[in-house]
């Protein structure tokens, strides 16, 4: 069984397309996508984590991971300023970025599967030496991207799917 078989490939394709679209239009960067993985041991090295929950027939989370440097570059590009001048804007920018990825993913899934989801407000965590552990039984797939030299990740976590 391929590692990403647990989650419908349509979800992965639409999340990947949504992420690339948000970066192209709002960050002015073309993302290079790598193969998604659902290996349990994989924990993306990240200092900045943005999370948006969604709920409908399918319930879950969209999670964005990046390093602090990459998050500063993303914030600067969104705001139209130099990365060195980014100060307190990072949390809001990454929250808005995650919100747009989840929102675009929701729209795409509504078109593709007719599912209507509500999405939460974004939360952003900034720090080091931490990872997120989910205590309930979930399906996860991690989608890696490259923005110039920086590695970014978007994870889809499904806690209940329409087929369950």
């Amino acid at each position: 069984m391929p590692p990403t078989a647990a989650i419908d490939s349509l979800f992965i394709d639409e999340l990947t397309a949504a992420t690339r679209d948000v970066f192209k239009t709002m960050v002015f960067q073309d993302l290079e996508a790598a193969s998604p993985t659902s290996e349990d041991a994989l924990k993306p090295g990240a200092n900045v984590v943005g999370t948006v929950a969604f709920a409908g027939k399918t319930v879950g989370l969209v999670v964005f991971y990046s390093t602090l440097d990459a998050a500063q570059a993303i914030t600067a590009s969104m705001l139209g300023v130099e990365p060195a001048s980014v100060n307190g804007e990072l949390h809001d920018a990454i929250g808005e970025l995650t919100n747009m990825i989840a929102g675009s993913f929701r729209t795409r899934m509504a078109h593709a599967k007719g599912e209507t989801w509500a999405i939460s407000v974004p939360t952003v965590t900034v720090g080091s030496d931490f990872y997120t552990k989910y205590v309930s039984d979930v399906q996860r797939v991690l989608c890696p991207f490259r923005m110039n030299k920086a590695e970014l990740y978007v994870e889809l976590i499904v806690t209940r799917s329409a087929t369950q």
Partner: protein, 121 residues
Amino acid sequence: MRFLIVDDSSTMRRIIINTLNKLGHQDVAEAGNGKEGLDRLSAGPVDVIITDWNMPEMSGIDFIRTVRSMPEIKDTPVLMVTTNAAKDDIVEALKAGVNSYVVKPFTPDTMKEKIEAVLAR
């Protein structure tokens, strides 16, 4: 020409302000939610309102409904910028009094076109 941007994201407000500045519009007021937007409007009318939908305290929809109920500002053109893209959402926004609608994410050209269309009304 004076604009009011109502959005709880300072990033999104900055992105919209950057677009307005590129179009030659420098007079822009900001508010973090619908309630703050009404406070700004009580200080004086604006020519165009650009608002988000999902915000704390007072949503964009409730804000627009309130604006449309106030005789002195009820005809102010309103552009809504949101991730809510379902047909039902757009219908609800139009019924509340939105004049034009932009779905996030958007290109600078799309935002420019929508702003120009609202101004041409």
